[in-house]
C-alpha cells in the first residue's frame, strides 16, 4: 500500500519545516505549497489524499482556495486557523472544508483529524449502513437506534440530526449545515432549534447528558459525533 499523500498549504516556512518530517514519520507523503495559487495547482496535479490549508495566505484568501477546490473535487480539506478568526473558519467549513484545527496544535491532534478525513473518504465509496460506538448503535436501513440493547424512541427530527452527525463521524458539522439539512434552507440561522434538539438527543443517547461523550460541542462552530474505539 502506498502512503497517503498530504498537501500542506502554509506560507510560514517554520510550519512547513516541522510538518514535513513529522508527517513523514507518521507514514504520510508530504507535498508543500506556500501560496493559494500553488495549492490549487498542486491539488490538481499531485493527487493528494488530504489537504491541510492555512487560511492566511499571501496571494489569496484561504476561503477562495476552498471554494475553488470544492468546485471540482471532494478532497478532504482540513483548515489550519487561529482562534480569533472564528468567522473565517466557519465560512470555510460552510464552503465545504471538512474539518479544522487551531494553532498551536499537538501533532497527535492533527494526525487524528487526518485519519478521520481519510476514513470518511473511504466511506464515501461504500456508504456505511451501520455505526456503533460506546454502547450506541445506529442502523440506518432499519432506522433504529439502540442504546445498550434497549431501542430508543427518537422523533423524526432527532433521528435526522443524529444520522447527519453520524455520517460525518469524527468531523465537525457546522450549525448551518445541520440546520439546512435537517430543517431546510430557510432555517439556516435558527440556532435555538439546534440547541433544543441537541439537548433532547443527548438526553436520550448519552450515558451522562451533563457530560456528553458522543455529541461534542465545538464552541461557536458546530457539533462533532465522536466515535470511541471500543
Amino acid at each position: 500500500m502506498t502512503a497517503e499523500r498530504i498537501l500542506v498549504v502554509d506560507d510560514e516556512p517554520q510550519i512547513q519545516r516541522f510538518l514535513r518530517p513529522a508527517l513523514g514519520a507518521a507514514g504520510y507523503e508530504v507535498v508543500e505549497a506556500m501560496t493559494g495559487g500553488e495549492a490549487i495547482k498542486a491539488a490538481a496535479t499531485s493527487a493528494p489524499d488530504v489537504i491541510i490549508l492555512d487560511l492566511g495566505l499571501p496571494d489569496m484568501d484561504g476561503k477562495d482556495v476552498v471554494a475553488n477546490i470544492r468546485a471540482w473535487s471532494q478532497l478532504p480539506i482540513i483548515i489550519l486557523s487561529a482562534r480569533d478568526r472564528e468567522s473565517e473558519k466557519i465560512a470555510a467549513l460552510d464552503l465545504g472544508a471538512d474539518d479544522y484545527i487551531e494553532k498551536p496544535f499537538a501533532i497527535g491532534e492533527l494526525t487524528a483529524r487526518i485519519r478521520a478525513a481519510l476514513r470518511h473518504r473511504v466511506q464515501m465509496h461504500g456508504s456505511q449502513a451501520q455505526l456503533s460506538t460506546d454502547g450506541l448503535s445506529i442502523d440506518m436501513i432499519k432506522r433504529t437506534v439502540i442504546r445498550d440493547g434497549e431501542p430508543l424512541r427518537l422523533t423524526p427530527k432527532e433521528y435526522d440530526l443524529l444520522v447527519m452527525l453520524a455520517r460525518h463521524a469524527d468531523r465537525v458539522v457546522t450549525h448551518k449545515t445541520l440546520l439546512t439539512s435537517v430543517w431546510g434552507v430557510a432555517h439556516g440561522e435558527d440556532l435555538h432549534y439546534l440547541r433544543v434538539f441537541i439537548g433532547q438527543l443527548r438526553g436520550k443517547i448519552e450515558r451522562d447528558p451533563a457530560d456528553p461523550k458522543i455529541i461534542r460541542t465545538e464552541p461557536g462552530v458546530g457539533y462533532r459525533f465522536v466515535r470511541h474505539d471500543d
Binding site: 506560507d11 510560514e12 517554520q14 519545516r17 516541522f18 518530517p21 514519520a25 496571494d59 487561529a82 497527535g108
Partner: protein, 898 residues
Amino acid sequence: MPENDRERTSRPDPDALLALVDRDTRGKLTVFLGAAPGVGKTYAMLTRARRLKAEGVDIVIGLVETHGRNETAALLEGLEVLPRREVIHSGRTLSEFDLDSALGRHPRIIVVDELAHTNLGDSRHPKRYQDIEELIAAGIDVWTAVNIQHLESLSDVVSQIAGVQVRERIPDTVLNRADDVLLVDLPPTELIERLKEGKVYLPDSAKRAIDRFFRLGNLTALRELALRRTADRVDDQMVDYLKQHAIEGPWAAGERLLVCIGPDSLSEKVVRTASRLASGLNAEWIVVSIDRADGEDGDREAMRQLDDTFRLAERLGAQTRRVIGNDFVEEILRFARREHATQIIIGARQIRFPFRLFRRSLPDALAARAAGIGVHLITDRESPSTKPKHPRPRVSAKELARWLGIAATAVGSATVAGLVIERFVILQNISLLYLLAVLVSATYAGYIAAIAAALFSGLAYNFFFIEPVGTFTIAEPHEVFAFFVFLVVATLVGSLASRIRQQAKAAQRRATAVQALYDYSRTLSGTVDVEDVLWAAVTQTQKMLRRNAVLLLPEDGDIALSVAWPPDTELGVTDMTAARWAFERKEAAGNGTGTLPKSLFQFRPLMTPNGVVGVCGYVQRDKPLEINEERALAAILDQTAIAVDRARLSRETLDQAARLEGEKFRAALLSSISHDLRTPLATIMGGVTSLRQLGDRMPVDSRNDLLQSIEEEGGRLTRFVANLLDMTRIEAGTLNAKRDWVDVADVVRVAIERARKYFPNRAFETSIASDLPLMRGDSVLLGQVLFNLLDNADRFGGDDPVSIYARREGNEIVLSVTDLGTGIAPADLKHVFDKFFRKGKPDGRARGTGLGLAISKGFVEAMGGQIKAESPAIKRRGTRISMRFPVAVAELPRKDWE
C-alpha cells in the same frame, strides 16, 4: 399585535393630555381666594390643614402671618411650622419665608400665606408667587391665599372701585394655573361688622384707607369680582374636562383678539381691558405694536414704556408681536387678517379740536376699513392727551446753533448768488435759489434747519429782491401772494427733504445692524470649532451691546464659564446660580428677571430644537436693553445656539470617526500580534509533540532540524515579547533612560557581535571616527537600537554588506546604518517609525514585527536624540537610518584627564 382600535372619531386633545401629565409630576396649587382682607382666608386654610394633619397627611406651615390674632395663632398649635429666614432690610432685621429649607424638608403639602407678597433683601425671587412656583415644580403641593385686588388684570378696576392703588400684584396666570381655587366668602355686612369689632387686622399704613376702602359699595363690588372670577374658573375647568375626555362641546368658537398698543400711558389700560375681555371670551389674544419704518428708535422713555406694556401683556398671558410699517391702519389690518383676529382692541385718545377737522383718528380709520372685524375702542377718561405721542427729543443748544448756522449760511450764499447773477441777467424766479438753500439745509441738517432756512429765505427774499428793496415791506399785491406761496413751498420742501434724510439714516442704521449680523453669521458658518464659535459669539455680543459678555457651556453635569469678553470678566456665586437657573429652566434669569435679580448679569439660554446648548450672559446692572439691542441679541443668540450645536455635532462625528479608525487599527494590531505570537508557538508545539510521538521513526538529521527550529522559534518569540514590553514601556512613559557616559564605538562593536550571531551570513562594515566624543545616554538602549537597525538591514538589505558610520558633526554625534537593498517607497517613508508598520517581501514572507523602528525612535528620543530615515541612500538603492545625539560637555576636571 392587532391594530384595530387606532382610529376613533374623536380623540382627546393631545395638548390637553400633556398638560395633565405635566401637572401630575408637579405639585398642586390650591389658592384660597378672598374679596378683601378679613374674610377669613388664613383661618379657612389652617382649619383644613389641621383636619388633614389629623388624618396623618404630611402637611407643614411654611409661613403664616397671625397678625397677633389669638384665634389664628391657636390654630397653629400642633402643626409643624418651618423656621423663617432672617433678612436685613434697610437696617432692620425682618423674617422671610425660607424657600430652601422648605425644599429641603419636602413635605407633601406646604401652607404659604400671602401669595402677592414681595420678597425682601437678597431672596432668590423678587415675588413670593415665584417661590411657590419653585415649590410646585419640586413636586410639593402648596396652599396659599390671596385677595382678588392683587390680580394684575383687575388692578385698574380695583383702583377705580376702591380708589386705592394696589402695589403688590400677581400675574393672572398664577391663578389660572392653580389646580384648585377655593373662594372664601363673607357677606360685606358681616365683614364690616367684624371690622368694627376689631377682628380684622390691617397694617398701620392702611388704616387711613379703611374708611374709603371698607365701604359697603366697595366690598360688594370686590365680592362680585371674586365670585365672577371663580365662576369663570369653574367654567374653564369644565371646558378642560370636556377636552381631556374628548367630549364634543360648545367651547370657545375661536375668538382671537388683536390688541394694538403704542408707546403711551393709555396702552396699559388697553392691555388690562383686553385681558379681561379675553378671559371672559375664553379667547387667545395677541398684543401688537407698529413701529414706524422711518422712525427713530431713539426716544428711550417711550420705548421703555412700550416694553413695560409688553411685559405686562405677557404676564397677563398674551402673545406679543412687533410689526414694522408706515401705514398703521394697513399694517394692523394685514396682521389681523393673517392672525385670523375676530376683534381688534385699540386705545382711542381724544384729538383736540383743531386737528379733528383735518385728520381722522387712527381708530376711526381702522373702523372704516376693518370689514368683518369688530373694533373695540378703549377711551382714556382721566387725562385727555396730556402727553404728545412722540415727544420731541431734546436738542442741545450747540446742535441748534449748528443747524441755524447751516441754514443762515445756505440762505446767505443764495442771496449773494442772486445779487451777483442779477447784475448780468434778469432772474424771473429768484425764489428758486432760496428753495435750493432750503433743500441743502434740509439735506445736511434736518427738519429744524429746513424750517429756519425757509424763514430766513422769506426774510432775505423780501428784503433784497421784492420791491421796495431794502425793506421788509411788499408793495405789489401779487408779490404778497407769491411770497406766501414761496413760504409754504419752502416749508413743505424742507420737511419732505428732512424726512427723506431721516429715513435714509434709519435705513443705514438698520443696514449696519443687518450687515453686522450677516458678517457674524458668515463668520459662524465658516467655523466648525466650538472654541472659535464661542469667541466669535462673545466678542460679537460685547460689541453689539457694549457690555461685558460671557458664555457658559455644560461641563460634567454642571455648567462652567467657557469664554468671556473682556477676558477678565468674572462671575460671582449669585451670577453662577442665575446662569444655572437659565440653563435648567430654559428661561432668562438674573438682573431684570424674576429670578435672582441681584446678579449683575442677565443670562439667556441658548436654545436649539435639540434643547439648551449653553447660556449667554451680559452685564445688565439694572439698565435693560433697548429694543433694537434686544432684537440684535435675540438674533445673535439664535445663531450662536445653532452654531454651537453644529460644532458640537461635528466634533462628535469626528470623534466617532476617530474611534472607528482606532477600533479598526486595534483589530488589525491584535490580529497581527496574535499571528506573530502564534506562529512560533505553533512551530514549537508541533515540533515538540512530533519529537515525542514520532521521534523514534525520524532520521537523525530530521530530529536535529526540528530541534534547531524549536530553538530558533523560541528566540524569535523572546525577541518579540521583549519588543512588546519595550514598546509598552515607551508608551506608558516608564522608560527611564540612563544618562551615563557612553562610548559609541564600544556600543557599535557589541551590537555587531550580537548581530553576527543571529545573522551569520551578513557582512558588516564599520567606519567610526577616531575622535568621536562621548555622549550622554543609555548604552543598553543604544545597543538595542543598533541591533534593531541591523536586524532590519539584514531583512531588507539585499546581499551587499551593511555599513555603520559614526562621526562628529558640529555639536552632534551622527550614527547611521546603511543597507543597499531595494529601499523604502517614498509614500511609506514617513510611516516607517509608526508602530506595527511593516513591509514584507512580495511573497509575504520575512515580515518583521513592525516594532523595531518604533522602539528605536522611542529609545533615541528618550536619550535626547533624533532619528530619521532616508531612502534611497546611495545610487538609488538602499536605506539609511541616521541618528543624531548632542555631544556631551565633559564635566570632568582637567586633572582627571591626565
